[in-house]
């Protein structure tokens, strides 16, 4: 019986075990060697090894009992100022027993901390440097306030290159006796774009279907927009039924978890395939582009995409009038 989540099972245990982020790993190893660690910020996209690097560093530094010397806090769950004032402070000010005099506080998803909490953290970091070092993990270092950034050594994690990504997944597939086809691997990379945690989760979910992992299997489990659904939605809108088209859109987003950017890409493709006067296609492409841009800035995908649907309703109406 395959046990647990593969993403955990195959998480490297030591810095030597880390296959990627070579330069970062080398610098971290030098910290271990000198038995000293500065405050750090690990920034970079999800699934690139930030948390793993922090845990490996701790294990290499303290040995197998590393858990006694570190604390992991997740700012998404505990983001308020009180956590900094109480939990963090209590941990930070007590000296560690053992060869290394400081403990390590790992603050994961730190970009989700409120700015009040970050301000409070800044003092704590300064005051208890002797007894505690902080590793802040974030997707965007820009969301960490400047004074904290200036106190930390920055590390930028990047997506795994395709070669490493493939090697890693093939290794897991082999150990778990999963038949991973080349097209399946391509699809995983396309869908997860180098986010290794997502890629491994995708592989495990695909393996649960008990058949060779091909592109179809991968797409079916990752909630990608189905071209046929998008085509149908466009048709409904162009025929003038806005409410029904919006309902389809809502289902896609809420029930099947399809990303708005994915839907708009499909709409763009479908428009050029659709049966309508050529000059209309370019008109609509312009509208799609505008909404795509707003999607980035806006707050709500459904609102943006339904504005696009309303434009399609309008276009359908104009087209019928012209005929």
């Amino acid at each position: 019986m395959s046990f647990g989540m593969w993403a955990e099972k195959y998480r490297p245990k030591t810095l030597d075990g880390m296959v990627n982020q070579k330069e970062i790993v080398e610098r971290l190893k030098s910290f271990v060697k000198s038995r000293n660690v500065p405050h750090c910020i690990f920034a970079g996209p999800p699934g690139t090894g930030k948390t793993t690097a922090a845990l490996c560093l701790a294990r290499d530094l303290y040995g197998d009992a590393y858990r006694e010397h570190i604390m992991e806090l997740n700012a998404s769950d505990e983001r308020g100022i009180n956590v900094v004032r109480e939990t963090v402070k209590t941990f930070a000010r007590v000296r560690s027993i053992g060869e290394i005099s400081f403990k390590i506080m790992i603050l994961d998803e730190a970009d989700n901390m409120t700015s009040d909490a970050q301000q409070a953290l800044r003092r704590t970091m300064e005051r208890y440097t002797e007894t505690c070092r902080f590793i802040l993990i974030a997707n965007y270092s820009g969301k960490i306030i400047e004074p904290i950034q200036s106190r930390c050594a920055p590390f930028r994690f990047t997506y795994l290159p395709r070669g490493e990504h493939d090697r890693y997944l093939r290794q897991i597939a082999e150990k778990e006796k999963v038949k991973l086809l080349d097209e399946g691997l391509d699809a995983v990379f396309e869908v997860c774009s180098g986010d290794l945690r997502r890629a491994i989760n995708t592989l495990q979910a695909a393996a649960s279907l008990d058949k060779p992992v091909d592109a179809k299997v991968v797409y079916s489990i990752t909630g990608r927009a189905n071209p046929a659904d998008v085509q149908k939605m466009i048709e409904i809108a162009m025929n003038g039924n806005f409410l029904e088209a919006r309902k389809q859109l809502r289902d896609m987003i809420q029930k099947y978890g399809v990303a708005g950017s994915d839907i708009i890409r499909q709409i763009h493709t479908e428009i050029f395939r659709a049966d309508m006067p050529e000059q209309w296609k370019i008109k609509l492409a312009d509208i799609v582009g505008e909404i795509d841009y707003r999607l980035v800035e806006g707050a709500d995908e459904e609102v943006q995409l339904s504005a696009l649907l309303a434009r399609l309703v309008e276009a359908g109406y104009e087209l019928r009038k012209a005929n």
Partner: protein
């Protein structure tokens, strides 16, 4: 787009006889006694002045009484001009007890508060004159009988105060309507609507229609959001001001009157715009305004600069109001509760479950519970639906409880099978 015409339930289910009027039983009896006294000759007070807060059945009582006693009801209300001369013309009607065909007659002057200084000049004075010489019962209706303008008028009237009916009475009325409409309403659902109405039966019925029309069953969850709002200005009035607004300022002012927060108001507008703006160009314009409003929401979120809220408000109110250029008003279209919020409130228990599983994942996977419930849970679902062995292994590893296993597996039988593998 198909146009659906709806009848307002406040009209459709208006009480036809006094027995059906909600509450105020003793007050109504007083009114009936006064009407009866006319059979023995003209009483001392020739007019009855019904007053009390809006929506509690003053006008309905008069109409029901006329129906029960088979009297002819002659009515003037705020929509008519009520200058002195207009009322004098009307006075003729009050000068005889019986009408031409032998029936008896009641003269009703409704919405007396609406008599304004200039347009209805002399109206109160003329009304007083009519009452003095009336040969048939005259009924006046206003919210506030103690307005100084009515001080002289009051001397000639029998004052009858209508009070807000208790929630229990309102609830009975709502239930009656549900039965007639073939809707099965949960006890606590109609109770909440009744309670929140604060005795305003008319608005309670309006709320009921907005929430229940087209449904087979009305649950507490469907109406639970009502408890968040105040009854000062209903959301429906606010929406009307926005979607049917003629000026930017008027549409924007609606925001101050709304007793929901900006995001909730946005949802209401977003939900209701399509049904009310049927012209494709209007609809596209309105949705575009909401799209830009949403961009401002994104900017506010990104910068945490709340002063951008003013532009958000501009687009979601004035932007929507100005979108209306071709659509004609037609019939009565009900406002609907935002579908997306309904989805959210329905899945409140579901979200709690997801977060619970998220915390289990967090203990093992170095990821926040919030993110785990969004990013990892969907994969677990796929595994639990497809592979019992792998599911059992994960259930044990994550230390999931049976409810969580059932939630992920999607069915009782499957979860039983998975749990069996564990022992």
């Amino acid at each position: 787009m198909r146009k659906v015409l709806y009848a307002a339930w406040t009209v459709k289910h208006k009480p036809k006889s006094l027995a059906e009027v909600v509450g105020n039983k003793e007050v109504i009896q007083k009114f009936v006694n006064w009407i009866r006294s006319w059979e023995k000759g003209i009483p001392k007070k020739r007019a009855a002045f019904l007053y009390g807060p809006p929506g509690i059945g003053k006008t309905v009582t008069v109409e029901a009484l006329a129906n029960d006693f088979q009297m002819e009801l002659v009515e003037k209300n705020a929509s008519d001009y009520r200058t002195e001369s207009a009322i004098r013309r009307f006075a003729g009607l009050a000068s005889q007890y019986g009408s031409l065909f032998g029936g008896k007659r009641i003269v009703l002057l409704d919405e007396l508060d609406g008599l304004t200084g200039t347009a209805d000049k002399g109206g109160v004075k003329a009304t007083t004159e009519i009452i003095k010489s009336a040969q048939c019962p005259v009924v006046l209706i206003a919210n506030n009988a103690y307005d100084p303008r009515f001080s002289n008028l009051r001397n000639y009237c029998l004052l009858i105060e209508f009070k807000k009916p208790p929630a229990g009475e309102v609830m009975k009325h709502l239930k009656r309507i549900c039965t007639r409409e073939g809707i099965q309403a949960d006890e606590n659902a109609s109770k909440l609507i009744a309670q929140r109405s604060g005795g305003d039966v008319r608005s309670a019925v309006n709320d009921l229609q907005a929430l229940a029309q087209g449904k087979k069953r009305l649950t507490y969850e469907d109406v639970s959001w009502l408890s968040y709002r105040d009854r000062q200005e209903t959301i429906f009035t606010v929406l009307r001001m926005i979607i049917y607004g003629k000026t930017c300022v008027g549409a924007k002012r609606a925001v101050d009157m709304a007793d929901v927060d900006i995001d909730m108001l946005f949802e209401w507008i977003y939900e209701n715009v399509p049904a009310h703006l049927t012209d494709p160009h209007d609809l596209a314009r309105a949705m575009d305004a909401l799209s830009i409003a949403d961009v401002y929401r994104g900017r506010i979120r990104a910068t945490q600069d709340w002063s951008f809220t003013r532009y958000l408000i501009d687009y979601m109110t004035a932007g929507v109001a100005m979108a209306r250029q071709n659509t004609k008003a037609h019939g009565w279209i009900p406002f609907k509760f935002p579908g997306r919020i309904r989805m959210l409130s329905r899945s409140k228990a579901e979200r709690a479950m997801q977060l619970g599983i998220g915390y289990k994942i967090k203990r093992k996977c170095h990821i926040s519970a919030v993110r785990a419930s969004k990013e990892i849970l969907p994969y677990l679902r796929i595994i639990f639906k497809n592979n019992m062995n792998m599911a059992a292994g994960l259930a044990k590893w994550l230390d999931l409880n049976p409810e969580m296993v059932e939630y992920l597996a999607g069915s009782k039988e499957r979860s039983k099978g998975i749990i069996k593998l564990l022992s």
